[in-house]
């Protein structure tokens, strides 16, 4: 166990799985370090994220592949390779680039197993960074996990810290279905205690990062950390919160969410993706349908507005959910008074 960054945790997961299984290969733009540059330096870069640095040196050109900037062909190639015996991990860089290659994920990889009568296995991982907070503007800041969650056949993982990232990525690589693994771009330098050895965290099992009696907060990815901050402040005022990190949006641990709401009777959902048809809607619908009688207050959703992600810092701050807004939402559900029957 030692302190590792989110970036190091992902690198270590990739390295350990590549050591364990020769069928695990990496592909993506610059992930081998940038081939053919005039410096002659091999493994110069490790992708724009720096996540894969060192892996080309350790595993060589038959395991780590730079691609041209052609997402449709290499994401499709990763799907085709997965269906024919390899276990590719493809880096899409920014998840926003899914626009260039969605067909290969949505209509190909995700559909093979069902459409081919259960006879195909597609052990594919697509890693990509998501999220606002980096002044990366509208085409490099989206949190598109609802898009993937919507597609049957895909699994969707959103780790909330370095420990989670390592365990969930190893699980993703060992999983036999196509997995979308989303890394919040603001978190790459976040540090955490991360075991040195390989370990897995199962999909579809939520993690309770705080346990309390008054309000259940469900938050995704980076929002889990904001929810924890809000819960810690509220605790001092005597409001105790349960914070649920679902870890995966597909599968979604609906049981834990319903159990917690049954105990607290109040729900706040924090989702940094665009507000229409997002995970907050999904969780709110689940609870409204399955736990209506337990609710003591209306469900509150903390989300960005229905706009593209703005560039300017002042606007981006306004756009993003934060711990203050989560705190306000919790106080609002705590203060709810039902109207008396007429």
């Amino acid at each position: 166990m030692s302190k590792k960054s989110f970036r190091q945790a992902i690198n270590e997961a990739l390295r350990q799985e590549m050591q364990r299984d020769p069928r695990v290969i990496l592909m993506g733009e610059d992930v081998a370090g940038g081939q053919g540059g005039s410096s002659g330096v091999k493994d110069a870069w490790g992708g724009v994220l720096g996540v894969t640095k060192g892996l080309f040196t350790e595993f060589g050109p038959d395991r780590v592949f730079d691609t041209p900037i052609t997402e449709a062909s290499y994401i499709g190639a990763a799907a085709g390779a997965a269906a024919t015996g390899l276990r590719p991990v493809a880096e899409l860089m920014f998840v926003d680039f899914i626009g260039s290659c969605l067909d290969q994920v949505m209509n190909q990889a995700a559909k093979f197993r069902y459409m081919f009568g259960g006879k195909a296995t597609t052990p594919l991982v697509i890693r990509a960074m998501y999220g606002a907070g980096f002044n990366a503007a509208a085409q490099h800041s989206q949190a598109l996990y609802p898009l993937f969650t919507h597609i049957p056949g895909l699994k969707v993982v959103i780790p909330s810290n370095p420990y989670e990232a390592k365990g969930l990525l190893i699980e993703a690589i060992r999983d036999n279905d196509p997995v979308i693994f989303l890394e919040n771009k603001v978190m790459y330098d976040d540090e955490d205690e991360v075991p040195d050895e390989a370990y897995t965290i199962p999909f579809g099992e939520a993690n309770l990062t705080r346990e309390g009696d008054d309000v259940t907060i469900v938050a995704f990815g980076r929002m889990v950390n904001f929810a924890n901050e809000a819960a810690d402040r509220l605790e001092k005022d005597g409001i105790s919160c349960t914070v649920i990190d679902p870890r995966t949006t597909s599968p979604l641990d609906t049981g834990t969410i319903l159990d917690c709401v049954a105990e607290t009777g109040r729900l706040v959902v924090v989702d940094e993706s665009s507000p229409r048809c997002n995970l907050a809607c999904d969780v709110a619908a689940l609870v409204a349908e399955e736990a209506f009688d337990a609710l003591k207050a209306p469900i509150r959703r903390v989300m960005p507005p229905h706009t593209p992600v703005p560039f300017a810092t002042v606007l981006e701050k306004l756009y993003m959910p934060d711990s203050a807004r989560i705190e306000a939402a919790v106080r609002s559900v705590m203060g709810y008074k039902a109207k008396q029957d007429a």
């Binding site: 290969i25 038959d62 592949f65 691609t67 041209p68 052609t70 449709a72 062909s73 290499y74 994401i75 499709g76 190639a77 990763a78 799907a79 085709g80 390779a81 997965a82 269906a83 024919t84 015996g85 390899l86 590719p88 067909d103 290969q104 209509n107 190909q108 559909k111 093979f112 197993r113 069902y114 459409m115 081919f116 009568g117 259960g118 006879k119 195909a120 296995t121 049957p152 056949g153 699994k155 999983d175 036999n176 279905d177 579809g204 599968p251």
Partner: protein, 321 residues
């Protein structure tokens, strides 16, 4: 060119099977008993068969929406295909794929594909598997002249060259992308496109099995030897519409009749092999009769086969969930 007698017999049988399969579907579809869309491969048989004659189960192909011919040429069971097209539980995809998604990965058949241009990227991946797993296999993408304009196809030509993949890109140019002629929709030439990527290019007359067999042999040998990908441009024609029910009002009167009379790959094959006494008429007639029976039996069995069960709806979305 020397072709072993068993290859000739097998290839003839395969082409005849495709022809009869598709002609029968044309008739059966009109009765309304077959759900969904069906795109027929009649007239193009020599292409799929001439290419797949060089492939074994180790090798991979990806097909198109017009995929029945490629499936049969790659060895997918005809009865399982027919049952699939009828939406039956005994179909190769248990009735959950249908005509456009017939696949059998155990035979290296990576699927027909409902998305134009969907196959070439997948074939880059299959070729990468062959290369890294060192099984000496090649991966072949069939795609049409319409798909030749898709970005996915052009990206795949580039990627296959960059990674020096054992891949062959077979452009089946039947002159129409749906209803729009390739003379209108394709800028430049397939040959120049291959050259643009530095990719070896072969072309052939798709009505002539022997021409396809020879050109495909060269392209596939090039890829299998580790020299990187190749493009094979096959000139051919489809005898039916884009899909069944297409009135083909965009085609001149008499165009298809002329194709059937003068450019029939099966007639051409029979003429070639009997003229020089490679095969005799009676052995070919025997194959014809046998295939007729096989198709009849497949249709009868498909119509009698059980429908999927309600529990099949939820099965096989994931390996584990």
């Amino acid at each position: 060119m020397q072709i072993a007698r068993d290859i000739l017999l097998r290839s003839y049988r395969s082409m005849r099977t495709i022809r009869d399969f598709e002609e029968r579907l044309h008739v059966e579809f009109a009765t309304g008993e077959i759900p969904g869309f069906v795109h027929l491969y009649c007239g193009e048989e020599a292409s799929g068969v001439g290419v797949c004659a060089h492939l074994s189960d180790v090798d991979t192909i990806a097909s198109t929406h017009r995929g029945h011919g490629h499936c049969i040429a790659k060895g997918v069971a005809v009865d399982g295909m027919m049952a699939e097209i009828y939406g039956r539980r005994t179909g190769v995809c248990r009735g959950k794929g249908g005509s456009m998604h017939i696949a059998d990965l155990s035979l290296g058949m990576l699927g027909a594909n409902g998305i134009v241009g969907g196959g070439p990227p997948l074939i880059c991946g299959a070729a990468l598997s062959h290369k890294l797993l060192k099984d000496n296999g090649v991966a072949v993408a069939f795609y049409g002249d319409g798909a030749s304009n898709e970005g996915t196809t052009l990206e795949s030509l580039n990627l296959a060259m960059v990674w020096k993949l054992p891949a062959v890109f077979v452009c089946e140019d039947n002159g129409y992308g749906e209803a729009t002629a390739s003379s209108y929709a394709v800028a430049g030439t397939q040959k120049a496109r291959a050259a643009g990527f530095g990719m070896p290019y072969f072309e052939c007359d798709g009505n002539d099995f022997f021409a396809v067999y020879e050109a495909a042999g060269e392209a596939i040998a090039h890829a299998r030897a580790g020299n990187g990908p190749a493009m094979l441009h096959v000139h051919l024609s489809r005898w039916y519409g884009h899909f069944e029910g297409d009135a083909m009002s965009y085609r001149a009167n008499g165009e298809v009749a002329e194709l059937r009379n003068d450019h029939d790959c099966l007639k051409n094959f029979r003429k070639s092999v009997t003229e020089i006494s490679l095969l005799d008429e009676s052995s070919l007639d025997g194959i014809d009769a046998s295939v007729r029976d096989e198709i009849e039996a497949a249709v009868v069995a498909a119509k009698a086969a059980p429908l999927p069960e309600p529990e099949d709806l939820l099965a096989d979305v994931y390996v584990s969930y």
